[in-house]
Amino acid sequence: MKRFFRMSPSPPVWADRFLEWFCSPDKLEDIQGDLHEEFYYQLEKKGLFNAHLNYWRDVLGFIRPFAIKHKQDRFSSPLFSPDMIRNYFKVAFRNLQKSRLYSTINLIGLSLGLGVAIVLFWIVRFEYSFDRFHTNVDRIYHIRSTDKFGERQSHTPQGVIKTLQEHLPGVEKAANLYGMEATTIKVNNQVYQQKNTFFAPPELLEMLDITWLKGSPGQSLNAPGQVVIDDETAQRLFNGDAMGKVIRYENAVDLIVTGVIHKMPVQTGFPMQMIVSRETLKQLQPEFKNDDYWGGGDSMNQGFVLLKAGTSSEAIARELTKLIQKHHEESDVASYELQPLSQMHFDTTNDPFNYAMPKWTLYTLSSIAGFLVIIACINFINLATVQAVQRSREIGIRKVLGSSRMHIIMQFFGETFLLVFAALILGSLIASQLVQYADLLLNTKVALAPVWNISTLLFLLGGGIVITFLSGFYPALLLSGFEPIKVLKSQFVIINRQRFSLRESLVVTQFVIAQVLVICMFFGIKQVQYFYQKDLGFDKRAIITVRMPDRRDGVIRERFRHQLLGHPEIKDVTFGLTTPASHRDHWWGNVLYSGLPNGEETFRLQHIDTSYFRFFKISLAAGRSITATDTAQGHTSSIPIVINEKAAHDMGFQNMEKVLGERLEFWGMKATVVGVVKDYHSEDLRSNLQAHAYFYASWNFKTASIRIDPAQKQAALQHIRTHWQTLFPNDYYEPKFLDDDLRALYDNERKFSNFLILFACVGIFIGCLGLFGLVSFVVTQRTKEMGIRKVLGATISSLVALLSKDFLKLVVIAFLIASPIAWYAMHRWLQDFVYKIDMDWWVFVMAGVLAMTIALLTVSFQSIKAALENPVKSLRNE
């Protein structure tokens, strides 16, 4: 009572309570006593505050093993004592050792499955990380549009950017970025090829997270003739010391290095190595000078916008779409939209500066990874259950000695985890080797990015737990459920009363997955072969192409042609904007003609030399080609053009002769049709035939095509190189084979089928491993039966058939299930292509036979071994 009023200082209550909470009861009295005594001592010497502080410090100091409360460990179950835990591991290890075959099968299967799964995890994570490192990624948008013909476009005219900057509230920054695929540069009289050259205004580099080593966007990119390079390029060109040095660009203009940036990360849509100021582009290409122009377009001239926080991207896009009305004379865009920067990487309708990765590929990858792991887990379950008989005694004894069901379940999970853990380590090793080849299998650059980091470890840990659970759950449940009396009296047999056991359905599942992969693999390969072999409508053999550095200079071009034709190894030379099929440089024109639907349509325009059709062996359907007299005409009221059959059809003609002499209009020019050529595939086979118009335009011959004698390839290449280098000493020489270029169009598909091959092989292999294990188990179980049959006169082949029949039945059932699934998957895949293979039934049969053969080989290996065994051996001991 008295104390109540005195309020004498006492030790902090909360610290005391805390101490009482954690301190073990037998220690509490003297520790707390000492603490209190010490508190009053400190109080007297150093005052209340310090005493409090000291008290807390001391209490916290007592959080030590000797003072902490232990939970009743004196009476805990002996099954969780350290000795028993050690015993569990020992038993697990011995079991794994004893059934070496099964352990190896499980380990190999799981490691392979996991190895592939880890690589796929890396790829998927990498592809999803594109451009997410920018601080403002949520506010940066890529400007997309749809033209009035419904085509998606990625180019953005500079007028749109200016409007965004100046007239639309909510916009913080907007900028164009113009990308070049490869350019020629000259440093100290040395010619280099520079990939990833971009033209950008300062605003663009201010939007993105770029590490500036020297200079800044404002100083380094605001005037003509300025260039910024990354540190790697600086090292390559100038040994590091780049500031103030001069780079001659395309033999046209001198650029001064005004800044150096850190190399862009791999996972960016802006792989900028050399950035030239936008002002320079305006000088090089005068069409960019007019900042208010809303028309024209080059898909490499893209637009990006940084919105202020809280601004809706839809609203800005709506505003832009509304503004098109004001510029409808220039622009053929129907609507604008803003695409979040983080989504740009997945958009395959975009002309990307890096590469694009469609999301469905990533989904396919993830599910294949999942399936491979499931196949491996199924092996695990199957092999664990077949071993159940052998382990039943051990479990019986454990139970009799007092293990609860929970203990046995835990023990089996422990064993599973041991194996999964080993598989994780092996799988990681496989993965870190495999990831280097990822770009051969898929269009990815994951190998250039770091793969080992915290999220990988979390993935491994999480994956390990899930796999342990998936594969350990059923065996643990099954084995722990044995009744000890029965198993110890040897009455234990696993009887299968169901027509279809769990084990059988698991094997079927495995083979369904594997066979789906095999069938898809065959169709993938077939489609890619089709791409390569399909007759494109022109002769693509033995053609070398080189990019003409000076596309406007007719004199030097003719000199080049004559010099080349002087060699017998060179058969023919022609010039044009591109070859008949090309990946880049598609020029389009909006053609006006009364017979076209709505009176207009977009034609692809091809600038050709007079020898173009002859060179590529494209035959005429009617009329004539462009001749020398046409080119000599100069400015006339109407230029002579050739169109293709598709264009003639679109214009409303069935008879090709009738089109001749028709007049149409494009680019403000009047044209007369003088000839019609047969259709050929000018784009990849994913797309339809395009309507074409061909005309002579010697100012735009970017490509020289040279047909050589295939038997004299080396000599021909040598001649081309020599002449080219004397005529164009300032330009980088890079000859290409047209065949290779055409193949490159299908890189994605080729790589997709590559990875299907890998996964189908891994899938079948893991599946067969499991089959192998199962058969070997059945064989050991039925040794005696085999012996008796043999003694009674069974032939070896009948024994092999007896053993193999059941398993092959499962593979056949799996095939029947797999076929429709694979058919559906491939049907969906092939829908992307206009020109595609037929889904022939024999491909299914071939895949089925292949899977069956592999399975049969696996099974017969074991069954033949069993059938050949001397019956005396198996029957001798009882």
Binding site: E29, D30, I31, Q32, G33, D34, L35, H36, E37, E38, Y40, Y41, R57, D58, G61, F62, R64, F66, A67
Partner: protein
């Protein structure tokens, strides 16, 4: 049988327990060490050392009288066991032996 080793701090605590002779408990030992050696020692360290010493059999303890300033809680009083005493003496003689083996230059000067 392995020989039980004493840590440096344990040795210090054990000596202090011997020194305090029957009045050795947590606080008194802590204060004594602070006073005699000048090193800053905390209660929990002393308790931990006492715990270890008791486990090793160097000290034994029993609960003593309750005092007011401890809120009526009893003290745990420590005494050195015969084994502890033996250990201290062993340590001491080993040290002495080694000191005697040292060359003269190392020893403190006893005469000029």
């Amino acid at each position: 049988m392995k020989r039980t080793y004493l840590g440096e701090f344990e040795e210090l605590v054990l000596l202090t327990v011997a020194l305090l002779d029957a009045t050795a408990y947590g606080v008194s030992i802590t204060h004594e060490i602070v006073e005699q050696t000048g090193r800053s020692v905390r209660l929990n360290q002393v308790h931990a050392a006492l715990h270890r010493l008791e486990e090793k059999g160097m000290v034994s303890s029993e609960m003593g009288e309750a005092t007011a300033e401890r809120g009526g809680r009893r003290k745990r009083l420590f005494v050195v066991t015969a084994y502890g005493r033996q250990t201290l003496q062993d340590i001491h003689s080993v040290r002495n032996h080694l000191w005697n083996l040292l060359p003269d230059s190392f020893k403190p000067a006893t005469s000029i």
